[in-house]
Amino acid sequence: MRYIPHTSEDVARLLSAIGVKNIDELFAAIPQNLRFAGELDLPAPLDEQALTRRLSGLAEQGCCRATFAGGGAYRHYIPAAIDHLLQRSEFYTAYTPYQPEISQGTLQAIFEFQTMIARLLSMEVANASMYDGASAVAEAALMARRANRCDKVLVSAGLHPQALTTLRTYTKWMDVQLVSVPLAADGRTDLAQLAALLDDKTAGVIVQSPNYLGVIENAKAVKELLAGKKTLFIQSFTEALAFGLYAPPGETGADIACGDGQSLGIPLSFGGPHLGLFATTKKLVRQMPGRVCGQTIDAAGDRAYCLTLSTREQHIRREKATSNICTNHALCALAACVYMALIGKQGLRDVAQANYAKAEYLKARLAEVGTLPFAGPTFNEFVWIPQAPADKVLAALDAEGILGGLPLAGFAAGLDNAVLTCVTEANTREEIDRYVEIVRSV
């Protein structure tokens, strides 16, 4: 076994140094009646070549599709340089940087990540990452409850349905009352309903923008409704690149910005690992969940970095911690850090414009073969209703190797035949035109 160096001579030497006769003596603390008899029923071991053949065979069963599906997972251009850095053992084999003297590389990268995420979201502080957008939203609701000591949380019906179900799971036993705020006819959160549901016991309001239907919310108007109230404004998102074009949460008054950063250089990987982002204000930083890195000095007075504010965390505060999160998605945060460095200030504008322009192009063309139910502006995904049955349309696209979008049947009334379609800078004009041709042929 190539991952275990010990020869039988090594084993004999170690046993002798320990002063036992055989390996079994080392396990004496495990009562005999609890020992597992025989061998685990696992498939026979594979050598490297056989392993590669097997996994390649599995991988090929979903390969080589043009993707027009978004809905919380986006296919974007990922500069090749990123993965070369992620594959450095110094980064990917290291543990959480609890020993800062020999972890300065990871720590400085986290500090830079926090800075760039804060700048992207226009927030004062960001943490070192969460698992994903859905769990970040759930943590935000718990944080609002903690900060305001009250239990009602208003949730826009435009929140990603998986984030909503995750939120329900996390809050079920935590005395949080989740109240849904419906969407209006333009696909945006109904502000009149929101105003009616808002009261002094409302700990937070969660609004996703772009929302699940791809529509940009009027976050400034939501913020105005919250004026003079302690209620925290929680803005969530699944498409972080939208903020290269649209106002980021901080510009529209968010107290907490949380969501998924998968679009920042992280592959789809069938839904994970992705990257939970969490940002807030200086005022609320001690209520924030998750690890955070801070700048400091070393004994020589030189600039250094270390994990800080650990008195909020589970290993110090135990059951009174701000969250139970320990392991986060550090390597995904590193990927995002490199992505943001490579894409840069101008690149963010450009990549956002490309997403917007290509989506607008397909949207205009699909208006010829279907209807666009929502008038609100969108970024890179939008809802349309084909003339033919949606399942037939999606099947026709599938037959041509195109993942055509997500069916919205069951999400909301009137959307039974609707499709959520996403176009990014990774889709060529040729692909988009082909998409329209296939739809037209159904």
């Binding site: 010990h6 498939p43 993707t67 290291a94 960001a126 940009i216 980021p248 690890r291 917007y356």
Partner: protein
Amino acid sequence: MLKLYGPCDTPGSTGIAFCEPTLFERSTPGRVGCSLGALDVPAPAQPPAELRRAADAAWPEVSEVEAMRHFVRLSQYNYNIEDGLYPLGSCTMKYNPKINEDLCRLSGFANAHPADEHQGLLQLIYELQRDLAEIAGMDAVTCQPAAGAHGELTGMLLIRAYHEARGENHRNKVLIPDTAHGTNPASAAICNYQVVPVASNEQGILDPAAVAAACDENLAGIMITNPNTLGLFESNIEQVAKIVHEHGGLVYYDGANLNAIMGITRPGDFGADVLHYNLHKTFSTPHGGGGPGAGPVGVKKHLAPFLPAPIVVRDGDGYKLDQDRPQSIGRMRAWYGNVGVLIRAYAYIREMGAAGLRQASEMAVLNANYIRAALQDLYHLPYPVPCMHEVVFTEKDLPNEIATMDVAKRLMDYGFHPPTVYFPLVVKGALMIEPTETFEPEALDGFINALRKIHAEAQADPDLLHHAPHHAFAKRVDEVYAARNLKLTADME
């Protein structure tokens, strides 16, 4: 010794640069690090100005060349598993196989959108669920949880749902031994459970009588880490489980230390109702500088209806995502799990096979006991018995009142990552050492020699330890200063 770098006032001019500037200090207006082509569709009308971003996000402006140099230099300030022993107790820092890194990056995996019912990936997840169940003796497994603590939370929610379904929602007490993992109480708290600590006995393990005394009609369950964080197997586990079950409670088994017992004993065979696996520990997936990991959860049959939806099931000759689970606790996250991590763990299990996994556990325990035997004359061993995969020493009786932290920092000067320090809390000044099976005896000897020399230094020159590390990438880092002068971004004043 670790690499020595020059002074930091002139980066790059003296040896290898020590103080690599931040990306923001490197930024030069006009430099570009990416390759975005020209737009191949017409430029559209822009959205209304009041919805648009007002001020640019000031991401740095660096070329790809500078970005690479920046991050490669940063990487060189890290200690990593290929530098040498990384004996963090309870973290299981084993070698991360290279082939697994290649396999999870296969285009058919990495570019799979989760809305695509990818049969190959569903099969892989299904088989991993099955193999993990077999390894721990459980009946069903979910691969959704993203990390160990996420698995703990999933498991405790399952217990809560089980009691609720039986009309026993009054059960609100969870027993947590003082030798359990640090995340356990925080995970239980999110279920609104009241945490009741249980002290371990003078042998460092749970006493069935102590558990019985803490049980009453409000008992929801117990969270047991086994082997516990002292590296000791809970020999009374079967009786403890029986007592908890007799009081109507369930047994949560923290599987973070599963690396000691694969193929040797199975928690599901002696009372575990629910258990989480740390794929980033036991199954060799990389720690990534803090994640992502994966924390699948296994359950016995009576808890299976409550598992998070969706779960991967057989569907004729193929596989599908089962969303129709009316008693499910719900989702723990978006999509299905950290699939990139699941692929690595699957590949590891497929290459190791049953005999390989058992050998891994045996050699992990052998290595830990070798270190125990070689150092117990110099370092205080609070529980002088054979250990499992990790051994816990303490700072007691070190010369000149040298503290655990001083020993840890001095180890860096000898080219080793320190062990876990000051944990578990049940002993004062713990040095918790877990070598894992992937280090050869010569590497252990180097580590042992370093700790023996450090003990001599503690006697002869305690200041040498107080001021360590001397040859690391930074001098001792001031963590108090960081907390008092909070600067979490380059922009924060």
